[in-house]
Amino acid sequence: MSILRLLRWGTTRSPWLLHFNTGGCNGCDIEVLAAITPLYDPERLGVKLTPSPRHADILIVTGVVTKKVAERLKRIYDQIPEPKVVIAVGTCAISGGVFRGSYSHAHGVDKVIPVDVYVPGCTPRPDMIIKGIVEAVRILNEKARKIEQEAPVR
């Protein structure tokens, strides 16, 4: 119980991000990249970009989910330990955006994995991406608390 509380304290105060491009136009990706640079610097808030899904708490997904990449997205989602939160950044990740109607993608991240926070815009500004992360941390806290409550009490 107390271990889980410590875990919740840790994850919500310093959430680690994993960024995955699922076939977007790169616009959102360079904005995610811009959001971790000195001008916005979320690292002072404890947010850090990590290369491995096994270390991550928050998954940032950009781009239309092409059919070829959908299975990899699922695999990466499964590799992230609970509690986890998914942010869909950009119009393409929400609904397919300007590429709606094409044969080779799934029209949005939520068709493949559950999404918790949507950041609309084409492309969203870096500060809005950080706001999305703040919202995601709130959801992360709720999820972690749920895990805490459901754990068997000894």
Partner: protein
């Protein structure tokens, strides 16, 4: 590769090999070539301009009414600073054209792309592969052919 060397103009060059080139717009030339003669013409072109010729793209068009595929080879001739569009036509029921890979290795991905999306076979290109870009579900289909029925509404 000296800049000063004099090169013949495209009109002169094609006159020497018995073909006539048409200037459609300033610095843009166009001519029809038989598919079988194409590698030969490109070889001569590369030799005449010291190899300073590259293939920009192959734009393949499906003219379903005329039952032909048209292949537009957009070449750039660096010393003359102009664009040369070599047009060739292959029948729709037997879509086969000779490959340029032996004379210009850079033609490889362009031919593979056309093979994947339109199904025109380039004889002599060992790198053709299907699916090249398409997802596995569409491995046997040719989306850019005009008689492809499409994915339906999302």
């Amino acid at each position: 590769m000296s800049e000063e060397k004099e090169y013949p103009s495209l009109k002169e060059f094609f006159k020497n090999i018995g073909l006539e080139v048409r200037e459609v717009k300033p610095r843009r030339y166009q001519l029809f070539v038989d598919p079988d003669k194409l590698p030969d013409v490109v070889k001569k072109l590369i030799d005449a301009y010291d190899g300073q010729v590259y293939l920009s793209t192959i734009a393949a068009v499906d003219f379903i009414d005329e039952k032909v595929f048209e292949l537009n080879y957009d070449m750039s001739v660096i010393p003359l600073r102009c664009v040369l569009i070599l047009k060739t036509r292959v029948p729709r029921d037997k879509p086969k054209a000779p490959s340029l890979v032996s004379v210009l290795p850079g033609a490889r991905p362009h031919e593979a792309e056309v093979y994947d999306l339109l199904g025109i076979e380039f004889e002599g290109n060992p790198y053709l592969e299907k699916p090249f870009l398409l997802p596995k579900e569409l491995a046997n289909e040719y989306p850019l052919r005009k008689d492809w029925k499409g994915p339906g509404k999302p």
